[in-house]
């Protein structure tokens, strides 16, 4: 059999070379489909990775500890479910720190507020943060583009650059933050803009105000209490384990708390990401339909052109199966070439996407895309995708080539030999 295969492979290759242009076009159709899949997958993975990073670094941290029941109501930003963890020497924080996988711990108070600049009012999420401990967990201070960091006890605020532009605030300007306290009374404080933030997380830029934790606790009437404790871990892989371990260890130590991972906290963004994956799958299907039409067309034309050759091969002693295999080898050849071209192009494109990326702002402007990502999106190397695309091409081509091949093989040899 191997000797036969050698011969038939040579025959298939020679037949493919017979109509170079047609073969090339079919190969290209297959290759473009697979290539698009590779590129889409790389970009989606890049967006996922960067979004995840942004969510962790600027929004949720790796793991969050909050009062029991807070997680279920977190969208309402309640102030009646708080933890006694205002300072680093609180028992709860010490307990958390004792886990060696935890590399940073900070506390925050998150609350709903209205930002008033004297003319307009805008709803924001306000965050009271500990200026010393916050950088252990969050990267907010890396993105201060004007002004300076917050300091303990000052009536100052950092806000997103976009938000500042919208509210026409500059460094040194003052605004009023209006909120309900823990006792559900209205409260207002004047804050001076001390820093502007331009981060890769759009939500931070457009809808958040940061102020010192002690000031926030004071005005909200939350003496020594916070809404959340945020944890950074040595490595992201440990998130699920640490979440689980803390849940049980804190509970057994008598702390009545919710422990949630960043994945739990950002469920909606993960859902979008899953949706995009599905979309990429459908997209792959569509492109492959086009490629399949190309293959069916190309095999069909070949079988018509070679009717008399099929008659001859049958006369020499080939049976239907032999002829089907002969044509299947040709479609497999197309799949193989298509796969090689696709992976080659995919690697070249990905080299660019990973290192340079696509600047979204230049394409769609400063628009919000409902995704925790901003600016440049990068590709990700994913060899599995390349292998999958390659194998998919290799499998799908003979699969769609099967029907016209079988049709060709069923031709009556007498009729086929009479064919001009």
């Amino acid at each position: 059999m191997p000797r036969q295969i050698n011969y038939y492979v040579r025959l298939a290759l020679k037949n493919l070379a017979r109509h170079r242009r047609r073969t090339l076009l079919t190969v290209l159709a297959v290759a473009v489909g697979l290539w698009a899949f590779i590129v889409m997958d790389s970009l989606l993975a890049g967006v996922d990775r960067d979004s995840g990073r942004n969510v962790i670094d600027l929004e949720t941290s790796h793991v969050q500890v909050s009062a029991a029941g807070y997680f279920a109501h977190r969208d309402e930003l309640p102030l009646d479910k708080t933890l006694a963890a205002g300072t680093a020497d609180s028992k709860l924080i010490k307990m958390i720190r004792s886990d060696s996988r935890v590399s940073g711990v900070t506390s925050r108070i998150r609350f709903a507020a209205q930002l008033n600049n004297g003319t307009d009012e805008f709803p924001v999420v306000a965050v009271g943060l500990d200026p010393h401990r916050d950088p252990e967990v969050f990267t907010l201070t890396d993105y201060i583009v004007a002004g300076r960091k917050l300091q303990n006890g000052e009536y100052g605020a950092s806000l997103g650059k976009k938000l500042a532009e919208l509210m026409e605030l500059k460094i040194g300007d003052s605004f009023t933050l209006v909120m309900r306290t823990a006792a559900n009374t209205f409260q207002a404080i004047d804050l001076e803009v001390v820093g502007l933030v331009n981060s890769p997380h759009p939500m931070v830029n457009t809808g958040m105000v940061f102020l010192p934790l002690d000031v926030a606790a004071n005005v909200l009437g939350l003496d020594g209490r916070v809404t959340e404790i945020d944890l950074r871990l040595g490595g992201e892989e440990a998130v699920d384990r640490v979440t689980k371990d803390l849940r049980s260890s804190l509970k057994s130590s008598g702390f009545n708390v919710d422990v949630s991972s960043w994945k739990d906290l950002s469920g909606s963004f993960l859902a979008i990401s899953q949706g995009k994956r599905l979309y990429n799958g459908i997209f792959l299907g569509l492109v492959m339909v086009i490629a399949a039409v190309g293959i069916v067309n190309s095999v069909l034309l070949a079988t018509i052109e070679r009717t008399r050759e099929i008659g001859t091969l049958k006369a020499i002693g080939m049976n239907e199966g032999d002829i089907v295999r002969l044509f299947l080898l040709e479609s497999t050849g197309i799949g193989l070439l298509g796969g090689i071209v696709a992976v080659g192009l995919g690697i070249a494109t990905n080299l660019y996407l990973v290192n340079v990326g696509i600047d979204l702002t230049s394409m769609i402007g400063d628009m919000e895309v409902g995704y925790p990502i901003n600016g440049v999106i990068y590709g990700v190397w994913n060899w599995t995708t390349m292998v999958v695309a390659f194998l998919f091409g290799l499998a799908i081509c003979p699969l769609v080539g099967w029907w016209p091949s079988r049709n060709a093989a069923r031709k009556d040899p007498v009729e086929a030999l009479r064919h001009a």
């Binding site: 036969q4 011969y7 070379a17 050759e309 006369a315 020499i316 049976n319």
Partner: protein, 235 residues
């Protein structure tokens, strides 16, 4: 030894709603090593008869026994195996595979038999090329060969597997008389040398002259069946 027996073979083609009779009761018995020609006007049934003998088609009625097998009892797969093992075809328009070289065309039946090593195949094919007078042209494609040369490649392809039968439907019709004679000389020589049974068809009197048995067909029936004494003719 009898290698082929046709008993009351009829063949009708269906064309639209019409039944076209092509053979109307053919009886024929062929011994091993014969050099037999079907002759007759266009439409007399020569091609139809050769297709039936060559296991490419089945009769409407009657029986064909080929090399001891009743063909009607064979499945399509078994018929293909009979063609692969026992029968070599030579066609009017050569029917070489255009993308393959002379060597590759001739080697194909051996590859299909899957019994020989590449070295054995190479030796056989080179010997066959030599035999048909095409030594040195093994890497030419059909398009780079003359009609006569192509038909000699086809003869080599038909004979390479040592078949019991070689069937040739008007093998010289597309050749000029000089090349036609050369092809027939070659066929006659192979018949003498290997004892392969040759059955061919023609309506060319010159070609009929080569046959040692001439079966004339008319309207799907055998009109005459005679041994030709070539010596008598030559004298």
């Amino acid at each position: 030894m009898k290698v082929l027996e046709l008993t009351n073979v009829t063949k009708e083609y269906t064309q639209g709603k019409m039944q076209v009779p092509a053979l109307r009761g053919v009886n024929l018995s062929v011994e091993a090593g014969e050099f037999l020609s079907f002759a007759g006007p266009s439409g007399s049934g020569k091609t139809t008869l050769l297709n039936l003998i060559g296991c490419l088609d089945r009769p409407t009625a009657g029986s064909i026994e080929l090399a001891g097998r009743e063909l009607a009892k064979l499945t399509p797969l078994e018929l293909a195996r009979v063609r692969r093992q026992e029968i070599g075809f030579i066609f009017q328009s050569f029917n070489l595979i255009p993308v393959l070289t002379a060597f590759e065309n001739i080697e194909m039946p051996l590859v299909m038999l899957n019994r020989f090593t590449p070295a054995e195949i190479r030796e056989k094919v080179m010997a066959a090329l030599e035999e048909v007078g095409l030594a040195g042209l093994e890497s030419r494609r059909p398009a780079e060969l003359s009609g006569g040369q192509q038909q000699r490649v086809a003869i080599a392809r038909a004979l390479i597997k040592n078949p019991k039968f070689v069937l040739a439907d008007e093998p010289t019709a597309n050749l000029d008389s000089e090349n036609g004679q050369a092809v027939l000389d070659l066929m006659a020589r192979m018949n003498q040398k290997n004892g392969v049974t040759f059955i061919f068809s023609t309506h060319d009197p010159m070609v009929m002259g080569y046959a040692r048995r001439l079966v004339r067909l008319k309207d799907g029936r055998i009109a005459s069946d005679e041994e030709v004494d070539r010596h008598a003719k030559a004298n």
